[in-house]
């Protein structure tokens, strides 16, 4: 279990994202209709956006605290971030992308990681030749292998084909448990939120509309 303490306000042009959650969970699911609010929340945790005020702490590690003028640099936050636009380094091949993060510490065995995310046949390919789903799996491997203290995944399976998605989710959760790294997971699919997250936040209009166990929070249709 990890302690998530995310209490911040983020200004984005006209739009304000007000985020306030303090919860113990292994994986926090951010769920809601598409919009930029969920991605902005992840970017705030990664340090790529600076909140107007508030605190961001994961597992007792304070990454941002406006009252104490504390703003940990992006580099030192130790986040494993998979953005929705994936952003594999285009000049490096798959292997070079996966091993880019050089941090010491909590990282999985490369061979096991490659096996679990079904990347073996791709390792020597140029990233330009990969499909969307393949790129997402490489981005997840890159984030996991960087020795992160918290994983930030933004719709990481959106382009992964359905039969494979189930297996990748299981693999992902397996690695996550093995490393015991907390995860913040953005998705717009209820079933994915139910499988991955043990605490869900329903984001609506830049606010947390509901917060609780995924089964209680997910809209039942």
């Amino acid at each position: 279990m990890a302690a998530f303490d995310l209490d911040f306000t983020l200004q984005q042009g006209e739009f304000t994202l007000a985020f306030s959650v303090k919860v113990e969970a292994r994986a926090l699911g951010l769920f809601g209709a598409s919009g930029s609010a969920k991605a902005s929340a992840l970017e705030a945790v990664a340090g790529l956006r600076t909140p107007r005020r508030g605190t961001i702490a994961v597992n007792g590690r304070v990454l941002f605290d406006s009252d104490r003028h504390l703003n940990t640099s992006v580099r030192s936050r130790r986040t494993g971030y998979v953005p929705q636009d994936i952003l594999l380094f285009p000049h490096l091949n798959v292997r070079e992308n996966v091993v880019y993060g050089l941090r010491e510490g909590n990282r999985p065995d490369l061979r096991v990681l490659v096996e679990l995310l079904e990347l073996s046949p791709l390792m020597d390919r140029r990233v330009g030749s990969l499909s969307g789903g393949e790129r997402q799996r490489v981005a997840m491997a890159r984030a996991l292998y960087s020795g992160p203290d918290v994983l930030l995944f933004d719709e990481p399976l959106a382009a992964v084909d359905l039969p494979r998605r189930r297996r990748i989710v299981d693999a992902l959760l397996g690695i996550r448990d093995e490393l015991s790294v907390p995860l913040i997971y953005v998705t717009h699919l209820p079933e994915e939120a139910l499988t991955v997250a043990d605490w869900a936040l329903l984001i609506d209009n830049g606010r947390i509309a509901a917060s609780g166990p995924p089964r209680d929070v997910m809209p039942s249709d």
């Binding site: 380094f89 285009p90 880019y100 993060g101 960087s146 020795g147």
Partner: protein, 219 residues
Amino acid sequence: MSAEIRDIAIFTTLAALAATAVMLVPGVAVAWLLARRQFPGKSIVETLVSLPLVMPPVATGLMLLWLFSRRGPIGGLLARLGIDIVFTPAAVVIAMAVMGLPLLVRTARAGFEQVTRRYEQIAETLGAGPWRVFSTVTLPLAARNILAGATLGFSRALGEFGATIVVAGSIPGRTRTLAVGIYSFTENGQDRQAAMLLAISVSIAFVAVLASNRLAKEA
């Protein structure tokens, strides 16, 4: 081709290559600063770097002559170390580098500006420090533009005349370059030699610009 013509062609090419090497590190550094950083006096730096493009090259040469002569601020320092610059091959290289630099900086800057900031941010999230981000992400992604800029700077250096003749003169076998040679031979009525240098200039410049355009297109 006479030995004299051949030596001028070789000397000019080597001097232009040396000038390109000299301008590369400061040129790339300035291009990166202009593309990625806000700092006081940025527009002054931008203007200074572009100045040799629009100033009469002879005027640039005169400025260099003043800077590097024994009574000048840089030349004076070097003279104390026993180093003379003016009217030496080193003066040729300096004149070429100063005249080629604006082209390198402009092209490389455009290259840096094309590199999506998000790639650099992702590298940071993966724990890369500023130097690692620059050397493993920014620089490789801008490499084609930098190469195109260096080729352009090299081409400019090859054809440099005005600044060179002021600061290095036209000493046969020592500082005479293709462009200066064409002028000197023409003035002396040695049209055959001038025509040969002309043909060599055209061929080298043609290949260099072709290469630069290819690189810029692929970038």
